[in-house]
């Protein structure tokens, strides 16, 4: 019906765009990371030819990730923050997604709209709102003083890890709930009835049917938010701004915007990408599987 060459011609501009502005830039990171440093100006000299690669920056960076190394503690801290934030997202997000998917009844559509809403309020806007609330004179502290829960409330916004973790949760939990909700919605309701019919109490039906069937949904949703969390630098900067709470993203940011060491920054970016490669691969597989299912 259509000439054979038509579809590749349609795809070509987009594919070229992605090659030029996604693949090539990624190669630029590799080139800078394995490049040298100009002896006079201390600026990076990228090496585009793999045969000319200089492994100094890379090996130094990798060594930094060993216990006791330069990045060891920041790496631990990042992992710790992300892990705790993920756990909180799970503990709050799962019940919410479960309720909206299973029991919301008539209020389901309004709840869905309310859950989608934060998606479309800029992340930075939400962080601004958070900072306003937690500022020394903000509502949270006024409330704590007024109710005498804490007459001398803590300084939330200066190097407080609790704020950073809560900030991450607040920022990313909408992206966790929505895909999880979609996964829970896909579970056939008659499976739960079957479980109840076979003698499972509501909680047994949940633990033996809903939970195992939503495992991939939880995993997918966790990966979706873990990826940007690992690369986050703005959240710790906004709600804390202290080196005490900085994450890997902050370290990369500093190498480019604070110090003249882009080659180290590039190496660090590369290490982060490699570290996240498993998660990225998992996410890509789930997306393409969903697309194949839509196609079928």
């Amino acid at each position: 019906m259509y000439p054979k060459w038509l579809w590749p011609v349609f795809a070509l501009p987009g594919v070229f765009w992605l090659i030029l502005l996604f693949l090539v830039p990624f190669y630029a990171v590799i080139g800078v990371a394995f490049g040298g440093v100009d002896p006079v100006f201390q600026t990076p000299v990228p090496a585009w030819n793999p045969l000319e690669w200089d492994f100094t920056s890379m090996s130094e960076t990798l060594a930094g990730f060993l216990p006791g190394g330069e990045y060891w503690s920041i790496f631990l801290r990042t992992t710790e923050y992300v892990a705790i934030a993920l756990t909180i997202c799970l503990l709050v997000g799962y019940p919410v997604a479960y309720y909206v998917s299973r029991h919301a009844g008539k209020s389901k559509s309004i709840l869905l709209a309310l859950l989608v809403l934060p998606f479309w309020v800029s992340y930075l806007m939400r962080m601004l709102a958070w900072v306003n609330l937690f500022s020394p004179t903000g509502f949270v502290n006024e409330f704590l003083i007024w109710t005498h829960i804490a007459p001398h409330p803590p300084d939330w916004l200066n190097g407080n890890p609790v704020s950073v973790i809560l900030g991450l949760v607040y920022g990313y939990i909408p992206y966790f709930i929505m895909p999880l909700l979609a996964a829970l919605d896909r579970i056939d309701k008659s499976l739960l009835e079957a479980a109840r019919d076979l003698g499972a109490s509501p909680s047994e039906a949940f633990f033996h049917v809903t939970l195992p069937l939503s495992k991939t949904g939880v995993l997918g949703a966790s990966v979706i938010i873990a990826l940007p969390m690992f690369g986050d630098y703005y959240t710790p900067n906004i709600v804390s701004g202290s080196p005490q709470t900085s994450m890997i993203g902050n370290q990369i940011d500093i190498f480019f915007h604070g110090g003249p060491q882009p080659s180290v920054g590039a190496a660090l970016t590369l290490v982060l990408s490699l570290f996240l490669a498993v998660l990225m691969a998992y996410y890509m597989i789930t997306i393409s599987r969903a697309q194949r299912e839509a196609q079928a």
Partner: protein
């Protein structure tokens, strides 16, 4: 076996106590704990934003203490510090709108063609291209930001950091979203209409223009609006490719202001962004509904999923 049935299943009359417990547990009703958690979450997720918007209408200079209502002061009323009169705030507003507009106009047609091409092209390079399209969706923004920053610094040196670089960056990450949305629509409409058109004597060009394009319109419109929304919300790519104060966008400005002592004008700026985004999405939703009216329910599902699930 019937004997066994009777023995293994002693049946007792339900006592009033059991009846009460059954009622309290409400076996057919909603678990009360979940109701509480859900509405609490909704409250916590939305109220701070509403409070921040509220302070954009503060009559005073504080973002934490309410000093009376002023509809216009921080939007355009204040001759020095309002969004409209403070040149740095005004320029960020225009920069954001400019980027979002250009992104919309470039990424949507490019993405629509890419989606159609990728969905139908069966060749040796189609698999890898499909794979490539997914990368921007899963790559942490900081990695994309660093990569684009380095490539214009050391390789594409003819591009300066600034508006053009920012647009290129925005289009790169928007493209995949357009592909996902349009592809969903492509699969839900199938090939039958085009086959019917060809059967009725339409040339390939006529089929594309008179059948496929109109059928894709709802997806194209939602793509336009969603690209606008994600572009105006973007912080990381805009920041890494910024030329300094002159190409700051609203999110960059908010980022800079939160650590300083912000005025309600920053809240007003952020609130404007929320209005724009919600207006774009509301429009997208209404247009989508309007354009797919009469189709079987459920076909619009990918719109919601495109907007929420999986992305």
């Amino acid at each position: 076996m019937t004997e066994a049935v009777v023995r293994s299943r002693p049946v007792t009359v339900r006592s009033p106590l059991r009846r009460f417990l059954d009622w309290a547990r409400n076996p057919w009703g909603r678990p009360r704990f979940l109701v509480l958690v859900t509405w609490l979450y909704v409250f916590v997720s939305i109220v701070p934003v509403l409070v921040a918007i509220q302070f954009s209408f503060n009559a005073g200079r504080s973002v934490t203490a309410w000093q009376g209502f002023s509809l216009t002061r921080w939007y355009w009323g204040d001759p020095v510090n309002s969004v409209w009169h403070d040149p740095t705030l005004q320029s960020t507003l225009f920069q954001s709108l400019k980027l979002a507009g250009l992104d919309m106009l470039i990424a949507t047609p490019l993405g629509v063609m890419l989606a159609i091409g990728l969905a139908r092209w069966r060749g040796p390079a189609s698999g890898p291209s499909n794979f490539l399209m997914l990368f921007p969706l899963v790559t942490p923004e900081i990695v994309s930001g660093v990569a684009l920053y380095l490539v214009i610094l050391y390789l594409f040196t003819f591009i300066e950091p600034g508006t053009i670089a920012q647009v290129l960056g925005h289009v790169t990450f928007s493209l995949s979203y357009v592909v996902v949305i349009v592809r969903g629509r492509l699969f839900s409409i199938g090939r039958q209409y085009e086959e019917a058109a060809a059967d009725l004597g339409a040339t390939p060009w006529e089929t594309l223009r008179l059948v496929l394009l109109p059928l894709l319109m709802p997806a194209i419109f939602s793509s336009l609006m969603i690209v606008f929304a994600i572009s105006i919300d973007d912080f990381v790519i805009s920041q890494w490719l910024s030329c300094g104060a002159g190409c700051d966008t609203i999110p960059i400005r908010i980022y800079g202001a939160t650590r300083a002592a912000p005025l309600p004008s920053v809240n007003a700026l952020a609130a404007l962004m929320v209005y724009f985004t919600l207006a774009a999405l509301g429009l997208a939703y209404l247009l989508f509904r309007f354009m797919t009216r009469g189709e079987r329910p459920g076909q619009g599902g990918h719109m919601v999923h495109g907007m929420g699930g999986g992305l």
